[in-house]
């Protein structure tokens, strides 16, 4: 019983982190699915989302607003607006001019953008980490015979529910709306879609905006969950989310969700049963193994190279 409780605790922690990774991974996978490039600066957009949310929360609290759901919703909206604008601007400035060139050129441009944004926040907000207030406290506790307590906090439930809402909304958007249909068409064949009268530039911008908005949601959630943010906050999370995207099969949206959850669980199992210091090693190791043995990921389609 004791072991089971411990195991379920790790599982819950893993699923919490994993669902947030999945939100970030959507941004990587959608961009890759459409223009075939790794948006290296996506982690920074997530970090900017977290910072904006924190600024909004602090500002609203200082203004005397006390009703928690309102604070959170306003902060979330602020973070989504700022991150989406950032995503749009990054695509416009750094990716659109180099689109279609040799594969490495957009990637180097993206790395440059990532360094730029990291230092932009670093210079504006300082390099030290800033505490994120724990707004949602408490939770359910389960215990077998008192020794080990398994807890499911309200924060974790918030993360699950928010992720679920976002994912459902995204799936509906992609499958039902006009823009969503255009997104699918562009990811299947960009040239053909533009011949059929789809404004591909607009669709690509829309992809960046959607990815950035979801990253901002993840930024608020994980910022609150971890309790602090710093300018390097996005780098590792971005890598993890990229791993999740690759794990699930890059370009596939359900794959990103699945990959995020698997990565989150394997990470928390490592820190629960081995050592917390090596959890990053495990996720990078996982990434390397997948790329070596099954580069298409779990749900991805194989890429055919045409001459």
């Amino acid at each position: 019983m004791q072991d089971l409780l411990y195991f379920s605790q790790q599982l819950i922690n893993g699923l919490t982190i994993g669902s947030a990774y999945a939100l970030i991974a959507i941004g990587y996978t959608m961009v890759y699915g459409i223009i075939g490039m790794i948006n290296f600066a996506h982690g920074e957009i997530y970090m900017i989302g977290a910072y904006t949310a924190l600024i909004a929360i602090t500002g609203l609290t200082a203004l005397g607003l006390a009703w928690l759901p309102l604070i959170l919703i306003v902060a979330l909206l602020c973070a989504m607006i700022v991150s989406s604008s950032m995503g749009w601007a990054v695509e416009r400035v750094a990716y659109r001019p180099v689109r279609g060139r040799h594969r490495l050129i957009p990637l180097i441009s993206a790395i440059g953008m990532s360094i730029f944004l990291q230092n932009y926040v670093h210079l504006a907000q300082g390099s030290r980490n800033v505490g994120f207030p724990a707004l949602i406290e408490g939770g359910f506790n389960f215990s077998a015979d008192g020794a080990f307590e398994m807890s499911l906090s309200y924060m974790q439930i918030t993360i699950f529910v928010t992720t679920l809402i976002c994912m459902t909304a995204l799936s509906l958007f992609i499958s039902r709306s006009r823009t969503g249909r255009a997104c699918r068409a562009v990811s299947q064949d960009l040239g053909m879609a533009s011949l059929l009268g789809i404004d591909t530039n607009r669709i690509i911008s829309a992809t960046f905006i959607i990815g950035a908005a979801l990253a901002a949601v993840a930024g608020l959630l994980l910022g609150m969950y971890y309790g602090s943010v710093d300018p390097l906050f996005g780098f590792i999370a971005g890598l993890k989310a990229f791993t999740a995207a690759v794990l699930g099969g890059i370009g596939s949206i359900p794959g990103a969700m699945l990959g995020g959850l698997i990565l989150g669980v394997s990470e928390s199992m490592t820190s629960g049963y081995l050592s917390g210091e090596y959890k990053d090693v495990v996720s990078f190791g996982l990434l390397i193994l997948i790329l070596l043995f099954k580069p298409t990921g779990l749900l991805g389609k194989p890429e055919v190279e045409k001459i």
């Binding site: 490039m37 790794i38 910072y51 904006t52 924190l54 600024i55 602090t58 500002g59 200082a62 602020c78 607006i81 700022v82 604008s85 950032m86 749009w88 601007a89 400035v93 750094a94 001019p97 180099v98 594969r103 490495l104 050129i105 957009p106 990637l107 180097i108 441009s109 790395i111 440059g112 953008m113 360094i115 730029f116 944004l117 990291q118 230092n119 926040v121 210079l123 504006a124 907000q125 300082g126 800033v130 505490g131 207030p133 780098f235 890598l239 990229f242 690759v246 050592s275 210091e277 090596y278 990053d280 090693v281 190791g285 990434l287 390397i288 790329l291 070596l292 580069p295 190279e305 001459i307």
Partner: protein
């Protein structure tokens, strides 16, 4: 058209405000457990608004700006002229390189200790950048974990000197060979991957090695690092005031001159200089050898190169190994120069700086990479008040380079033959 332009311009200006105002306009300050929000200074807010206005004006009159830019007299006087003749250009380049080396040989005796120390660091960066240039510039393999091999070189020397008491001159080849071996072992499985996946995997390897160094406390000392790494000796002569090891003599006593701390710094600088020159010469040779041509062929068109019978794995692996080898070289010198190393020195940012050097200098071009290494290391030191903007500028420069001049400031020119026009 005009109305559309204004609408777009207004949109861009609003986006500029949205992305800059919240982050720049408010400062989060931690006071105890509470966080307070303070507004930024008026000048920052004015700057943000000015930036938005500038974006609006530029976007609104974009077309006329572009026309004006086209009419500007060309600033590059060489732009319209025929490129210099091949043989002349090669000669000029080697003269310039020789000139730099000769100047570098005598220079440390004229300047202060601090600048010589900085120059040693520049030379280490030159070695690193030349090595990465082989991998990224010539073979077209984007390696984002290059700093891992640098770490292998540095830690090899540090650990061997700590446990066996090995000297710098023994450690130099061992460190470089081990780094090269690591490159080969890591490279073997991953080189099948396509360009951007390779970049991420090497990044993952780099992080794994750093995390291992950080956490394997019993061997590497973890975040505390390893200290007391010996300095290089000249034929058994030590540069310290007192002799540390039995059987060695001291430099200042042998030559009967007064002890000076500068001897050591200059000696280290000269070693770094010699090694950097050796690195440059060896890589220069490689570039002209069949394997060098194979690297470029594979970079340009993998399918065509393979159909001509080049072994993809062998060619890529050789580039990867050689790059790693020179990183190990640089790492050993770095360990010896600092006397102390810790995982702090081998973070991803370091890889990014080296990559920025290669990209700015012009991928594949040796002279370009050397000049870029000098510029990137020295400029932040000269403009101290701007030094905190260093990485910001690097990032922006990388993006701008890719957009406007992906071939770099001093692009590589392939050795080629031009046929004379008939008649």
């Amino acid at each position: 058209m005009a109305a559309n332009n204004y609408r777009h311009a207004l949109f861009c200006a609003i986006v500029t405000l949205i992305i800059s105002f919240p982050i720049l306009g408010f400062n989060l300050e931690a006071k105890g457990i509470n966080i307070t929000l303070t507004g930024a200074t008026t000048s920052t807010i004015i700057a943000v608004i000015l930036a938005a206005v500038a974006v609006f004006v530029f976007q609104a009159f974009r077309d006329s700006f572009m026309v004006m830019l086209g009419k500007l007299p060309n600033l590059n006087p060489l732009a319209g002229k025929e490129p210099m003749e091949q043989s002349k250009r090669v000669k000029l380049e080697s003269w310039v390189l020789t000139g730099i080396v000769v100047f570098a040989l005598f220079w440390p005796f004229l300047v202060s200790r601090g600048s010589v120390d900085l120059a040693t660091l520049v030379l280490i960066y030159i070695m690193l950048a030349l090595g990465l240039n082989v991998v990224v510039g010539l073979a077209g393999l984007l390696d984002l974990g290059y700093v891992a091999f640098y770490a292998v070189g540095a830690y090899t020397f540090a650990l061997l000197s700590q446990y066996i008491g090995i000297s710098f001159w023994m450690a130099l080849p061992i460190g470089a060979l081990l780094a090269g071996l690591t490159g080969m072992i890591l490279g073997f499985p991953v080189l099948r991957l396509r360009g951007d996946y390779l970049a991420i995997v090497t990044l993952g390897f780099g992080e794994i090695i750093r995390i291992l160094l950080n956490n394997w406390t019993t061997l590497t000392g973890g975040p505390n690092g390893i200290g007391g790494i010996p300095e290089p000796t000249l034929f058994g002569m030590e540069f310290g005031r007192r002799i540390k090891e039995e059987g060695n003599t001291s430099f200042h006593e042998t030559f009967g001159i007064a002890y000076s701390g500068e001897h050591k710094v200059i000696f280290l600088y000269l070693i770094a200089l010699v090694l950097a020159v050796i690195t440059a010469l060896i890589i220069r040779r490689f570039m002209r050898m069949p394997v060098g041509r194979a690297w470029e062929a594979l970079r340009e068109d993998e399918i065509a190169a393979r159909s001509l019978g080049l072994s993809r794995t062998a060619v890529k692996l050789s580039a990867f190994t050689i790059g790693a080898f020179f990183a190990g070289f640089a790492g050993t010198v770095f360990a010896s120069k600092q006397g102390f190393i810790s995982p702090e020195s081998f973070v991803f940012l370091e890889s990014a700086i080296i990559l920025a050097i290669v990209v700015l200098g012009g991928m594949g071009s040796q002279l370009g990479v050397i000049l870029a290494a000098i510029a990137v290391t020295i400029l932040p030191e000269l403009a101290r008040e701007f030094s905190e903007y260093r990485m910001l500028i690097f990032g922006a420069a990388m993006v701008l380079m890719m957009v406007w001049r992906p071939q770099g400031l001093l692009p590589m020119r392939r050795i080629h033959i031009t046929l004379n026009k008939q008649g």
